[in-house]
């Protein structure tokens, strides 16, 4: 099918219609009409398709760019090497090595085809890290699902949950990169539109970093790995709009992943890179060649001549524009000098990797594509890749909910049993045990920690990426849509604070931040306001805490017929530790040690799982005391030797922090909460505050109280054998065997996965 776009003669109505089929607005079509009027010709279909993908929200960030620029400029540190420039961030790890990191959403594909969408989300993020020349060493997945009981969509939530997890499992396990960290949340606002945020960390020698740009004239352009097919046509365009129920044709827009091509491709690319002959590299992801070729050339101040006849195809009958925008997986684009092709050829052959030379770089303003002897695209590259920028309207959210005091449960012990089986609170074993988190042998703190087959959740996972260095990277990722939806600024601050607390509780030092911003419709001014507030919070946090924001991703149009998702700024925080032997885990280590809470628990139930159980709504989220967080970090760093274990108070409140510490083994808790301020339900279930629970080494209690006196240490009690006893003001809140409670918590997801 050849689509002809006669835009020179089209009136506004016709332009609008054409624009609709391409995902371009009328204004954008008028810009196009003016451009081609200047050339005195109509566009070829490939030219129009190239524009449509380059100018999509997904590719050019037209709604977000203005805010990202305003708030995120200059969030660097002396140790950042590449931030917000190339396909992934590069940050110094030690003298010789750097880590590479990136996180991206793959929400729309996962909604229509959960298995393929999630799998290629993992595949794509691995390529982003690989194209910087780095060996991928860890995968991260933050997942947001609807209510697992929901059956109102084309797919049930249960189906979506199982297939997303299967996609991540099958891709990650087969490619042999451990899935070490992430998060799983459930909320009605994600019904039928799950969020899949996939992250990857790689490690690279500093002198082997490859840029996502080519600056050498007359280099050849090589595409290698998988062949180009009809899978994944228009992926970026459908990711830039709202999904409709009858969008089943969108399934063609979801790519097919093949980890068994990827695995040798990784080897081949890294071996070729070791020779130092790659002048620039991009992965072929969203937008296919159209994005990768254009961006590689444009960033290097060059242009190119491409011959589409040389692209290896899965299907010989593809139209040239389909070849140009296909998002087929497992492909990489390399630029190198022609004389080096011989060396690359040997390595490709050794690993059984197909490749072809599709063109070369030239010094010119225009990109030229030829096909069957004909010139089919000849366009100014700057015009093609720049894309429009919008300053979308925004409006503060009107909020007239009044906060009400929630009643207390009549029987706390019974209530706690129900509470710990809830999908947002219970254990993640059924999901995470399906992921290979030990492959490569570099996962030191696993997603679970404690006695084998009786573990508890870790705060942050820790990997040791190099054989000859004891240094480690800690990884934590997640978001809290419930809290952010009440107040986007302070809510996002709490998401960042939680990442920070997870990092310092695992014995690590916060080092860099990566965001994946998932929001609803940017054309809705209230959503745009929340987006802007969230971005502002990230900026303020980074500046205050002296942390770099190294890489980011924006996903808009996360909306179904039921409405928009709760704003979900997912934060991935990387921490660094000089010696992984000093790591801290939350599982209690011995009986008769002192149990303390440090920092503060704010007396509010806003945004908490507890308030969700009572359907209570809130309008106010208190601010984060960033200075307290800094002090906590310093104290934990300097007093490692007197701490047995630590766990931050976050989702589920203090009760979950205490229970999870006990769930990692057979050591229990005898605690009295009388010294903490507030009502009992706030003490137990508040999710806001800087609080961290610490198990202090036996005999070191006095020293601990002295050293931590600036962060208000409250002694709760001590560790005991096998039981959990919690008291308050002379009354017993709960008194139960660890294993009885752990059993409920462990099996909370059994009904669903």
């Amino acid at each position: 099918m050849i689509e002809l776009f006669n835009i020179l003669d089209a009136d506004d109505d016709n332009l609008k219609k054409m624009g609709n089929s391409l995902g371009l607005s009328l204004d954008e079509m008028i810009v196009l009409k003016n451009y081609f009027s200047g050339l005195k010709r109509n566009p070829e279909d490939i030219e129009i398709q190239a524009i449509a993908q380059a100018w999509s929200e997904h590719s050019c960030y037209k709604s977000s760019k203005i805010y990202l620029k305003r708030y995120f400029s200059g969030l660097k540190s002396p140790y950042t090497i590449l931030t917000m420039e190339d396909d992934a961030a590069v940050v110094s790890f030690n003298e010789d090595y750097a880590y590479v990191v990136k996180m991206e959403s793959h929400n729309h594909p996962s909604a229509v085809e959960p298995y393929g969408g999630a799998a290629t989300g993992v595949g794509g993020i691995i390529r982003d890290v690989l194209c910087m020349g780095a060996q991928p060493v860890a995968l991260i997945d933050s997942l947001y699902f609807g209510n697992p009981e929901n059956t109102s969509g084309i797919l049930t939530e249960r189906f979506i949950i199982n297939r997303v997890v299967a996609g991540i499992r099958d891709y990650g396990n087969r490619v042999g990169i451990p899935t070490v960290a992430g998060s799983v949340d459930f909320d009605d606002s994600y019904n039928t539109i799950p969020l899949v945020n996939a992250g990857c960390i790689g490690i690279v020698k500093k002198d082997k970093i490859v840029r996502s740009r080519v600056e050498k004239e007359n280099d050849i352009l090589i595409v290698c790995g998988g062949r180009t097919g009809r899978d994944g046509i228009h992926g970026v365009n459908f990711a830039s709009k709202t999904l409709n129920e009858n969008d089943s044709e969108n399934r063609n827009a979801v790519q097919l992943g093949n980890p068994i091509i990827k695995e040798p491709l990784i080897h081949a690319i890294l071996e070729i890179n070791d020779l130092g002959i790659i002048d620039g590299m991009k992965d072929l992801g969203g937008g296919g060649f159209s994005s990768a070729v254009s961006e590689l050339l444009y960033a290097g101040g060059l242009s190119g001549i491409i011959n589409l006849d040389n692209v290896l195809l899965k299907d010989a009958n593809m139209e040239p524009w389909e070849i140009w925008v296909s998002e087929s997986q497992e492909r990489m684009l390399l630029a190198m000098e022609e004389k080096n092709l011989k060396l690359a050829d040997e390595i490709f052959k050794k690993w059984g990797i197909e490749y072809s030379v599709i063109g070369r770089t030239v010094k010119s303003d225009n990109l030229i594509i030829t096909y069957k002897g004909k010139k089919i695209l000849d366009m100014n590259l700057k015009f093609l890749t720049s894309g429009p920028v919008y300053a979308r309207d925004y409006r503060p959210v009107s909020n007239n909910k009044s906060d009400i005091a929630i009643r207390e449960p009549e029987n706390y012990e019974k209530f706690i049993r129900d509470f710990i089986s809830r999908p947002n609170i219970c254990s993640r074993f059924n999901i995470v045990r399906q992921y290979d988190f030990t492959v490569r042998g570099c996962t030191i703190t696993k997603p679970f920690t404690g006695f084998p087959n009786h573990e508890t959740h870790s705060d942050a996972s820790i990997i040791k990426p190099l054989e000859n260095s004891m240094s480690g990277l800690s990884i934590t990722s997640g978001s809290r849509g419930k809290i952010v939806s009440i107040d986007a600024y302070n809510g996002t601050m709490w998401v960042l604070a939680e990442a920070y607390k997870n990092t310092i509780s695992s014995g690590s030092m916060p080092h860099s931040i990566i965001d994946a911003l998932n929001f609803g419709n940017p054309e809705n001014p209230e959503t745009m306001f929340k987006f802007k507030e969230s971005v502002r919070a990230i900026s303020d946090f980074c500046r205050y805490m002296d942390l770099p924001l190294v890489s980011g991703n924006v996903s808009f149009y996360n909306q179904s017929k039921y409405g928009e998702i709760k704003p979900t700024p997912n934060i991935l925080m990387i921490g660094i530790m000089d010696n992984i032997v000093k790591r801290i885990t939350p599982d209690l280590k011995s009986t008769n040690s002192g149990l303390y809470v440090i920092g503060n628990i704010i007396n509010t139930l806003a945004g908490s799982e507890y308030s969700e159980m009572f359907n209570a709504e809130y309008s106010y989220i208190p601010p984060v005391n960033l200075n307290d967080l800094k002090i906590l970090m310093e104290l934990l760093k300097n007093n490692r030797e007197i701490i047995n274990s630590a766990h931050d108070v976050s989702q589920g409140g203090l009760i979950m922090a205490l229970l999870e510490m006990a769930f990692g083994g057979s050591i229990g808790i005898d605690a009295d909460l009388s010294q903490i301020d507030g009502k009992l339900n706030e003490k137990l279930f508040s999710e806001l505050g800087t609080a961290i629970v610490i198990e202090v080494k036996n005999g070191m209690e006095k020293a601990f109280e002295e050293k931590f006196k600036s962060v208000n240490p409250v002694r709760l009690g001590k560790t005991i054998n096998n039981k959990i006893i919690i008291k308050n003001l002379g009354k017993v809140v709960i008194n139960e065997e660890i294993d009885n409670l752990r059993h409920i918590w462990e099996h909370g997801l059994d009904k669903y996965i």
Partner: protein, 250 residues
Amino acid sequence: MEGTNNEEEAYLSLQRSGFIPDYIHIFDLNSGRKNLLDYDVLLIPGGFSAGDYIRAGAIFAARLRAYIRDLQKFNDLNRVILGICNGFQVLSELGMLPDTGNKMERSMVLAVNESNRFECRYTYFNYTSRNKIFESAFRDRIMQVPVAHLEGRVLFKNENILDEVLQNDQILFKYTNPDGTGSGYPWNPNGSVMDIAGISNENGNVIGLMPHPERVYYNFQMMPDGHVHEKGTGEYFFKAIYNYTKKLFD
């Protein structure tokens, strides 16, 4: 080959224990660039060779079958052939395990786990043999090991094979709980008959196991279970193979 993906930790474990390891890709054998008999130990690492889309290890085994004479000779020279996880699946597909009666016939299978899902967890195994390689390092020891597989449930073609395996003292490692008093799921993560985690051939030098000692070479790679682990399980395991191999060539 493509889809094999545990080679790095396997390489490092061999190196840490004293070997000078080298990667051999199946293409290296096809092209004649490398020859199996130039090596002292052969380790087939884990992963998903060819994606395991047909049956775990089946395609890798089919491709290796072209070098079956070399493998047999390797075996005849008493050199260690070790298959971990997917490598174990390959050796059983080739008929090199349990290989009762030295007939090189496929007589066992590593079936899909009883739980019907991929199992990534830590468990324990105890040493249940008098194998010449592991005897001194493993006698009466229970060791922590990670597993990560979908197809790891040992099933023999018939009861006679199991009888012979028992008769020949071929069961090297059995899954157990930490104090050795019982097993069952999840300690036995896949439902293997008799809790079998690893076996050898009659001669004891061809070894297959589902757990991954190469991922716990150092104690800091283990799960904190309240015990002080002076060394990781992998160090005992690979040092034992190194010491055996060294003697073989002395």
